[in-house]
């Protein structure tokens, strides 16, 4: 917990810094409170689908794996749920289809990795290629328009002034936090990722758990697919392009160890927010694509460096404090 706060402090500093840059570069816009609050909602909304996907990814990575197929799963789920025949079943049918398809693909990943003993990188890379192919096949490479008003309302409705997308995002994030930190499932995830052999010898069914992690990632992709489809009022085989990189990067920037066994949901969400805030900032400042990319690379590096400095100095500080309180001048023993 303290660890999570400490880490996220670094990223919070980065977010504040980004806000500061915004104020400096566009004082008129950032000075306008209604614009600013709307902008925050926009950032959150843009972060919502990738955020949901990142929650699943964080579980997979903490559990010692990786899922390169998330973008492709979103595509195949999105496309499948927007075929004309699926759309005849209405919003319920579309949501069910997206989630069912995504979970099934996740389970296939899980079976290949847990029981087929494929390296996660390779198994999900193969799935990424195959699922994109399947999505193209299903859609005939066309952009499929979602004609369902209920689905499309997911991107536009704002109960209590808060966009539904943000509510979904918050719900998934909270559920993810509880699952990771307060349930036996989360505990198993940390164990399986931290030391699979130890987990196995402690009686945890490591294979089954691994499978469940990929299914969970699939589930998040299914939810993400619906969110994206609603936002774009359409789905196509190339949607959610390279989301895998974004999700992995967000998780890792948020302090999740790529080797597994350690990570936080809060950190991953901070990571997602940093990315979408950067994109927003670039747009507001009208940077060209190439400058945008160069600056983005530099910001990522800086963000991680700030986080490290933060983390390090705080650790030292806290250690000093603890030492002072805990070791009340030990009485020397002599020979």
């Amino acid at each position: 917990m303290t660890d999570s706060i400490r880490r996220n402090l670094g990223l919070a500093v980065v977010l504040v810094a980004l806000l500061g840059i915004g104020v400096l570069t566009k004082p008129d816009l950032y000075g306008d409170m209604s614009w600013l609050s709307n902008n925050v909602l926009t950032i959150l909304q843009q972060a919502s689908a990738i955020g949901v996907i990142t929650v699943g990814m964080t579980f997979v990575i903490i559990g010692g794996g990786i899922d390169l197929s998330v973008g492709a799963i979103v595509a195949v789920a999105g496309v499948w749920s927007t075929t004309l025949s699926t759309q005849t079943y209405g919003a319920g049918g579309m949501i069910f289809t997206a989630i069912a398809v995504a979970v099934v693909v996740g389970v296939i990943n899980g079976v290949l990795i847990a029981y087929g003993r494929l390296v996660p990188f390779i198994a999900t890379l193969a799935m990424m290629v195959a699922a994109r192919g399947l999505a193209a096949q299903i859609s005939g490479k066309q952009t499929q328009i979602s004609a369902d008003a209920t689905i499309n309302a997911i991107a536009t409705a704002r109960p209590f002034g808060i966009p539904v997308l943000i509510l979904i995002f918050a719900a998934v994030a909270l559920a993810g936090w509880v699952l990771l930190n307060r349930t036996t499932f989360g505990r198993r995830t940390v164990a399986v990722g931290g030391n699979p052999e130890a987990a196995r010898l402690a009686g945890i069914n490591v294979k089954l758990h691994t499978l469940l992690l990929y299914a969970l990632s699939g589930l998040c992709c299914g939810i993400g697919a619906i969110m994206l489809t609603a936002q774009a009022t359409s789905a196509q085989a190339a949607m959610a392009n390279l989301y895998e990189l974004d999700a992995i990067a967000a998780a890792i920037i948020g302090g999740t160890l790529l080797s597994g066994g350690r990570g936080t949901i809060a950190g991953a969400l901070f990571g997602v927010l940093v990315f979408s805030t950067i994109t927003n900032l670039f747009a507001v400042n009208n940077l060209t694509t190439e400058v945008q990319n160069m600056v983005k690379g530099a910001i990522i590096v800086t963000a991680v460096l700030i986080q490290q400095v933060q983390f390090k100095s705080l650790t030292t500080f806290m250690a000093r404090q603890r030492l002072r309180t805990n070791t009340p001048t030990p009485t020397p023993t002599t020979t």
Binding site: T184, V190, A191, N195, A198
Partner: protein, 536 residues
């Protein structure tokens, strides 16, 4: 790809490292009188060394003096600071303050290389080998014989063979990957690496912990050869008998301080222990119950268990309240038997029954049936190093503390704290990451996991490896009282006295087969050793 000599490699691969018995047994240590130490030249002097880690003062003013050609033993409880001290010496850690004098000159080593160059070689407590490099490459890592960056493989092999011969291990091929070696084999490689430097001082941090009886003899012989050449050795161990055999003088650490320096090696055990622990303590086994064994019902029954390449036709049984010991050479297959009973390895033939019901569903079934395994290699098989102590202790039981899938962290902590008290874990704070614990304390965490209740048959693989004498006595006590409460215990130990002292019944294993079984009080150490070696 690395092999110049595939044929030799093949031959070596066909032959698991058998701890070989050195041709000439070393003369008993107590008869070899070392050089007159008092006047001998001092190679190393440490004073007032302080080293703190976040939240811990690991060294708090340590003093140590080492002389030419002596075996200087370092003694102390788990967490006393021994490993930290030698890491300071070896340039791994920078001390916060203190004086270091090397060969009469003030010195400070800012990295391992500087210490090595100065003539200090170290065998670390945690084996520090690269699994995918060969024996030769590991030994000469960082100082390979080379021309223009190209490894001189011929020279490398030759020098490796020489070093291994010096250690009495001619059977090890220089090109064999270290991954395929037994822990004992790896220890030999670490030793050869230390010898490969022209060292004036060799530090050994619990080198005997992973070794079996005959291997320890071999180690003693090597240490004596080294000192005879004037090389000084700092020797860390928890086995007091080793100090008697090869030690010249002893320095005792307690809580990061030197509590006794330069004691003679024959200082009575009672005094050593009280210097270490600050109290007097008898190093004894708890008394066996009046009526030995088979008091409870038969819990575990193993029939003709086999796995090709590991062990064959193993049959045994354990009753409630009974402690059954298995002893044998390293590599005789005891760990594999334990893991197979536990379901961690699939039995190729034979059956395991618990309470009359067959176990066949792997580890989860075994755990549900009440089995628990404390495995041999704590780091790779048992611990989540980055996780807090209490979570490591409850790793097998956290579901029991949970309600409807929601974990009961408070209850877990309370239970873990109880165990920490029982086992004298130090530091006692169970919120700390296991990584920051000393080796012996990590071992206690592994054992603690299965003491949390609910386990009715404990499988213990080398449970006291690296555990200090004080804690050892506590552990024996805990194990015995568990047995008294009806738990069955199957214990694997390479320390014959431990097996004989703690177990009710002893099984001897050799080359994958059980070759002997007898009540512990009908056996003595010599008899067991004979059986272990092959009935000579």
């Amino acid at each position: 790809m690395t092999d110049a000599n595939p044929a030799a490699d093949q031959a070596a691969a066909d032959q698991p490292v058998e701890p070989t018995i050195p041709a000439q047994a070393a003369a008993p240590a107590d008869q070899v009188e070392a050089v007159a130490h008092e006047e001998a030249q001092i190679v190393l002097r440490l004073a007032d060394i302080v080293k703190t880690f976040p939240g811990v003062r690991a060294l708090d003013g340590v003093a140590l003096t080492v002389r030419v050609g002596e075996v200087h033993c370092l003694l102390g409880q788990n967490g006393a600071g021994k490993s930290t001290l030698i890491k300071v010496l070896a340039g791994v850690h920078r001390p916060d303050s203190g004086h270091l004098e090397w060969l009469g000159q003030p010195a400070s080593f800012s990295n391992p290389q500087e210490a090595m160059k100065a003539g200090i070689a170290t065998i670390y407590q945690e084996l520090d080998l690269v699994e995918d490099l060969s024996v030769a490459e590991n030994i000469f890592l960082g100082h390979e014989p080379r021309t223009f960056g190209f490894v001189r493989r011929g020279v490398l092999a030759k020098r490796t063979t020489e070093l291994l011969a010096r250690l009495g291990h001619t059977e090890l091929s220089p090109w064999r990957p270290v991954r395929s070696l037994t822990p004992a084999g790896k220890q030999v490689v670490s030793m050869a690496r230390a010898l490969s430097h022209d060292a004036r001082l060799i530090i050994m941090d619990e080198p005997s912990a992973v070794l079996a009886h005959d291997e320890v003899d071999n180690l003693m012989r090597i240490v004596q050869e080294l000192t005879a050449q004037g090389i000084a050795v700092v020797y860390i161990t928890h086995r007091l008998d080793e100090i008697r055999r090869i030690g010249d003088r002893v320095t005792v650490l307690k809580d990061g301080r030197t509590t006794a320096a330069d004691l003679p090696a024959d200082t009575p055990t009672r005094e050593l222990v009280s210097r270490m622990t600050g109290r007097s303590l008898e190093y004894v086994f708890p008394p066996r119950p009046e009526v030995p064994a088979e008091r409870g019902p038969e819990l575990l029954k193993v029939e003709s268990l086999s796995r090709a390449g590991e062990f064959a036709d193993v049959s045994l049984s354990v009753h409630g309240g009974e402690i059954v010991g298995i002893t044998g050479l390293v590599g005789s297959g005891r760990s594999e038997v334990l893991e197979t009973i536990f379901g961690a390895r699939r039995a190729e033939s034979g059956t395991v029954t618990m309470d009359g019901r067959r176990l066949r569903g792997g580890v989860p079934t075994a755990v549900r049936a009440g089995l628990g395994l404390a495995p041999e290699e704590r780091k790779s098989q048992a611990l989540l190093l980055e996780e807090p102590i209490y979570r490591n202790m409850t790793l097998a039981t956290f579901t029991r503390f949970a309600t409807a899938g929601i974990t009961g962290i408070g209850k877990e902590k309370a239970a873990a704290n109880d165990i920490a008290d029982q086992l004298e874990l130090r530091p006692r704070d169970t919120n700390r990451a296991v990584r920051t614990l000393s080796g012996g304390n990590q071992q206690k965490v592994v054992l603690g996991r299965w003491l949390l209740g609910g386990t009715r048959l404990l499988l213990l693989d080398e449970p006291t490896r690296g555990v200090d004498v004080g804690a050892r006595a506590e552990l024996y006590q805990v194990i015995r009282s568990l047995a008294d409460s009806g738990v069955g215990v199957l214990l694997v130990s390479s320390e014959v006295p431990e097996c004989l002292g703690l177990a009710d019944r002893v099984l001897v294993m050799r080359e994958g087969r059980l070759v002997h079984e007898a009540p512990a009080d009908e056996l003595d150490e010599d008899k067991v050793l004979d059986l272990v070696m092959g009935g000579m």
